[in-house]
Symmetry: C2
Subunit: 327 residues, 2 copies
């Protein structure tokens, strides 16, 4: 039990005026004046719905993870320049909090989860998609398709719980063929530097047990009616964006063409440590951001601040992410 | 029941291959392949929690209202200039969607609702605070204090339901004394232009029945431990901001020092039609935005996009609102 200075003072006053409550007399401790509702102490489930034509999209926040901000995070910019951009955006300069936002897409005929967060394979600050789905009124067994943009752990680990069970037991898992080819290649896994062996092992943990059931798609395929895979490689060899379209409406889920757009939309030539082919990643990033700014296409990012959906404006030598108005 | 082109095609195929499902044979209509979960069709309850020292603040979205964008909305700027700013921010240029975000503040000893939205006195696109409180785990009867920034309908109507009942039956209603003095003055009400008579009537509807119980405070008063009233007049005669402070942490709820900051933080000298004393409103706006930019104080606006909380940077001749990263 916590005493505020005010409640201490008011209980002192109460003693002075003879109004001390009975329990306090018995215990020698005055009860503080607590609000009628306790502090919640945690963020609520974070979901945000919007329409793309007849399709209903729900952004679901998996949570966040923090990493120290060291000189290696952006390979080709001085730490001070990175810190300056963060400070200008009122973000901490000693660490980077990376946020995760998946998309639940109800096309009317299929319920599709694009990327999966961590489920119980991460830490206490993430793995919130289960709570988000519950808030959205969706049971895991109702998901028809789990669609992966690429095989980094924050996108794929949530497909299989720590105990080995599939989190979405009735869903078909659909993955980019070039991503599968890279990560499932035993020779590439053997040749991987030590720092990447864990990533390979994580992919194998999730996808190997049901490998025969995993549907591999090509760029250009309409993987589910209304959802088309688009080449966006560089971040990983098979990194894929998805165009979601209904009637004349469309948007694009761009996954990790940037890490946080605060840094990498504003500075599209910065090389983030996570990009496996940095030059290709930069070319992809600039191509898609330029398309979005020119054609005014709505984008959803995996690592923008929740709900992580909005528009792109050209600004200076880079781009600015403009979150959509909450509606 | 709605048929997508795809489900039509697949049922046609089914006929051709003899795989038509029995119910379709009986009814002559093939069942479309619906997703296992229906479309939700509406936004979820929108709440967002953050801490200010030991105080827990929950932004609660009451919803929105649209108004046509005419030349009179900004009194001293050409319509085309206003439309240009909206277009640059990917907002419609024919109407303005104004959003409403109240704050629930749990100081640990008091549960305070700052501004109330519409409850059932508005339209179908607002009055969502009840749902937000429910999502936050709070019953209306637990609210200790209803604190009003000023007496415009979108801030105050939600204190009393359409049927005349107080929405927060156990709450003390606390209001700025100069706001009370203006709106409760029968001579001012009689002298008001026709366009303002409804606003006066609305204030009287909400506050007159329990007038003796309404607590009036002065600027500078710590109205609840941790919450101090700050003069912010111009928008209305008694328009009040609130500093919320705990330990060394503080923020400011600035209510309507701007309508949407997209327009009026960027152009602080623009006069919005709702400001009763436009010159004073501009001076207040610039003073508070400048303080926030200089001292890096977190602000919450009533009319920013949900969760409507973040920071202010100087930009050009005005300011930019930088939403806080969702955490």
């Amino acid at each position: 039990m916590r005493f505020s200075r005010r409640s201490f003072l008011s209980s002192t006053t109460a003693v002075g005026t003879g109004l001390l409550a009975a329990p306090a007399i018995l215990t020698g401790v005055a009860a503080p004046a607590l609000a009628k509702a306790p502090l919640a102490g945690a963020q609520g489930a974070s979901i945000y719905r919007f329409k793309v034509g007849d399709i209903e999209v729900t952004a679901i926040h998996d949570g966040e993870g923090a990493r120290p901000l060291d000189a290696g995070f952006v390979r080709n910019a001085p730490l001070e320049e990175v810190q300056k951009v963060l400070a200008n955006n009122y973000l901490p300069t000693d660490k980077l909090t990376i946020t995760f936002t998946a998309l639940l897409v109800n096309t009317g005929s299929k319920l599709v989860l694009i990327d999966t967060g961590f489920n119980d394979n991460g830490g206490p600050t993430n793995g919130k998609i289960a709570a988000g789905l519950k808030a959205a009124g969706v049971e895991p067994g109702q998901i028809d398709v789990v669609l992966l943009s690429h095989f980094h752990g924050d996108h794929l680990q949530g497909a299989r719980a720590k105990d080995g069970k599939l989190v979405y037991p009735n869903a078909e898992i659909m993955v980019p063929a070039p991503e599968w080819d890279f990560w499932m290649d035993d020779a590439k896994m053997a040749a991987a530097p030590d720092g990447m062996k864990g990533a390979f092992a994580g992919v194998h943990r999730v996808l190997k047990p049901n490998a025969a059931d995993v549907k591999r798609f090509k760029w250009g395929d309409e993987v589910v009616t209304g959802i088309t895979a688009v080449e966006a490689s560089g971040h990983t060899p098979g990194h894929t964006a998805f165009v979601i379209a209904s009637g004349s409406a469309k948007m694009m889920y761009v996954a990790d063409i940037t890490n946080t757009p605060v840094l990498f939309a504003a500075n599209p030539e910065w090389k983030v440590i996570f990009d496996q082919d940095p030059d290709k990643a930069i070319a992809t990033r600039k191509r898609i951001l330029d398309m979005a700014a020119t054609d005014k296409i709505r984008l959803s990012f995996y690592h923008a601040s929740f709900p992580a959906t909005g528009f792109i404006a050209k600004e200076g030598a880079g781009y600015r992410f403009i979150p959509a108005q909450w509606s």
